[in-house]
């Protein structure tokens, strides 16, 4: 916990309640959090703050705003080096069939994983700690 690979995390969510909750939880674990409430703002904050990781809500303005933002981030030099996770409550249980786990989906969805809402902070931190940039495109 003392030596953190990821100090600054970008959180993007249009649900201000969830955004604030996740910010508080991660801050309490020693991270610095920058936030945005839309995909568009998310990219601006990303470019300005150069965070060490990004966690993005999937459905914002559009059904796939999260994927679009993640794609844009991953196309930048800095974005290629950092883990980007998509956060969503649209899962298999609720009938939305994507997981970004197959090779084909990874080809299309430029993110490092999908996380279910509500987020479990310990799980999220573990995912960040285990992130291996070599394994990613």
């Amino acid at each position: 916990m003392i030596e953190k690979k990821f100090k600054k995390i970008l959180l993007v969510d249009d649900d201000i309640d969830l955004l604030e909750q996740n910010k508080l939880l991660l801050e309490s674990r020693g991270f610095t959090i920058v936030t945005a409430e839309s995909g568009e703002d998310g990219f601006k904050v990303f470019q300005k703050e150069k965070p060490d990781a990004a966690i993005i809500d999937l459905i914002m303005e559009q059904m796939d705003s999260g994927f679009v933002l993640s794609y844009k981030i991953k196309k930048t030099e800095h974005g290629k080096k950092i883990p980007v996770f998509i956060l969503t409550s649209a899962t298999y249980e609720t009938g939305f069939k994507f997981s970004a786990s197959s090779a084909e989906e990874k080809e299309w969805i430029k993110c490092d994983g999908i996380l279910n809402k509500p987020v479990v902070v310990e799980e999220l931190i573990a995912k960040l700690e285990n992130y291996n940039p070599v394994a990613c495109k």
């Binding site: 309640d17 969830l18 909750q21 309490s28 303005e61 249980e93 609720t94 009938g95 809402k117 509500p118």
Partner: protein, 493 residues
């Protein structure tokens, strides 16, 4: 035949014998007519269908065999005897060839005559009975053939596919719908089913044939012929028991269940969306509570109160969502059991405005209503129309600007009452307008942020309007306000 007296014709030129035989037979209970020569014999014998005829072989005018021939050609079932004193082997054969039943040598005793006549009568009865049976059988066959062709026509014309295979797996019957569904170009009676039918159906047939006892139930399988539920069929395979206790074959009925599958899909998509929409506010409330319970996160009293208040807002949203969902299911039920009464649109509009007065005041929005004099009364369910106006008006307030205006018009347009609700609010982009009536769709942009809603309000409006065979239209200009126009038919029942 028993009630009617048996008719006998006697043809003989010898008076004594003719009249003697007549008397004898009349005493036995027969009806007897006589002819004293061949010509009279022919005339009488061909004038009606005698049961029995006794014909003398040698007569001065016409030969007995000719009389026999004439009678037989007219009435083949008349039992004819040839009587003669000049009995010879040749004439016996000849008369039998011509259709005579028997040969009575002269002179004969009364017993001999009666015995022969009785034999003849019995034969006659047998012939008539066999004729009757033959006719009956022919009629039955005709009826069966008719029934068969009728069944054929019925089966050929039904839209479900029907295919029958026998116990060795040959196709023994099919209609054209079956070929169409199974996409088989050519099929003949006697073709092996295994070469023609899809694997899923073959599996069922195999299962039916493999069973030790006949399974008297139907096995079904669904086959997606075109992807994405564009064409789905259901094949129902039922074993046909043979009277010998084995399986005679299997009847396969194929029906098109595409529409059913599509409805099922829409329903399950809706359930998925509902689950997702319910999960989000729950997650928000749960998140706030977890943070308040988390000792590692320091919160002051004010922050705690803020989080509780925000939780309440999310729970209220959840409650609204549940209510909207219940309303939707009510509309679906109500299509069958709604309370139709005469309603005055202007009253509903005024009541709704009063109900929403608080929200109007909050944003300082003024309302301008123009309602046509003598607006026709329409027949509808009061609650549904109220709900429809409420949803539209509360949207007009929610998405309006501070100090904005709302215009409500109601007027007659041909056979419709047309209600127009126009606001001076944030408006919509064209791509947003097109998705507006979809379940859970909410335009999301910088202007709508912070406005709460279930995403079902306009879905409910559309469903209500549709259920009255009305029309709903929307016109909108981004940043410049939105107008909803509802047209409800006047003469609806």
């Amino acid at each position: 035949m028993n009630e009617k007296k048996i008719n006998i014709l006697i043809v003989d030129d010898e008076n004594g014998l003719r009249l003697g035989a007549q008397r004898l037979l009349q005493d036995e209970g027969y009806e007897v007519e006589t002819a004293e020569n061949g010509e009279t014999g022919i005339n009488l014998g061909t004038s009606k269908n005698f049961d029995v005829a006794v014909i003398d072989l040698k007569m001065p005018d016409v030969d007995g065999l000719d009389v026999l021939k004439e009678i037989k050609s007219k009435y083949p079932n008349t039992i004819c005897f040839i009587a003669t004193a000049f009995a010879s082997y040749d004439t016996a054969i000849q008369s039998t060839r011509l259709g005579a039943f028997g040969y009575i040598p002269k002179p004969f005793t009364p017993e001999e005559l009666i015995y022969q006549i009785e034999l003849g009568v019995k034969q006659r009865e047998l012939i008539i009975e066999s004729d009757r049976l033959k006719k009956e059988r022919e009629e039955n066959l005709l009826e069966i053939a008719y029934e068969k062709s009728r069944l054929n026509t019925i089966i050929k014309s039904i839209s479900d596919g029907v295919l029958v295979i026998n116990r060795v797996g040959e196709v023994v019957y099919f209609n054209y719908a079956a070929l169409k569904f199974l996409n088989i170009c050519e099929l003949k009676i006697g073709d092996a089913a295994i070469l023609k039918l899809p694997e899923k159906i073959l599996n069922l047939i195999t299962k039916i044939f493999a069973a030790e006892t006949i399974l008297l139930k139907t096995f079904t399988t669904q086959i997606e012929l075109l992807p994405n539920n564009e064409l789905v069929i259901e094949a129902a395979c039922t074993p046909v028991p043979h009277p010998d206790g084995n399986i005679a074959g299997v009847v396969i009925v194929i029906s098109n269940i595409t529409q059913f599958k599509q409805i099922e899909q829409i329903k399950s998509q809706f359930v998925s969306m509902v689950a997702h929409e319910l999960k989000t506010p729950l997650a928000a409330v749960q998140g706030f509570l977890n943070i308040m319970l988390d000792d590692t996160i320091p919160l002051d009293k004010e922050k705690e109160k803020d989080y509780l208040a925000r939780s309440v807002i999310r729970l209220n949203g959840l409650k609204d969502l549940v209510n909207d969902l219940l309303d939707i299911s009510k509309i679906e039920l109500k299509a069958k059991q709604r309370e139709i009464e005469e309603i005055h649109i202007q009253d509903i509009i005024h009541n709704t405005i009063q109900l929403l007065e608080l929200e109007l005041k909050k944003k300082n929005i003024s309302i301008d209503t123009t309602i046509e004099q003598d607006l026709p009364i329409i027949k509808a369910d009061q609650n549904e129309i109220t709900r429809m106006i409420t949803n539209l008006l509360s949207n007009a307030i929610k998405y309006n600007k501070e100090n904005g205006k709302i215009f409500i018009d109601a007027l007659t347009k041909k056979n419709y009452v047309s209600i127009r609700i126009k606001d001076t609010g944030i408006g919509m982009k064209p791509e947003e307008t097109s998705e507006l009536f979809n379940e859970f769709y909410r335009a999301k942009n910088e202007k709508t942020r912070g406005i709460s809603g279930t995403g079902l309000g306009l879905t409910i409006v559309k469903r209500i309007v549709d259920s009255y065979h009305g029309k709903v239209e929307v016109e909108s200009e981004y940043n410049n306000g939105t107008t909803f126009i509802i047209n409800l038919p006047i003469n609806n029942n």
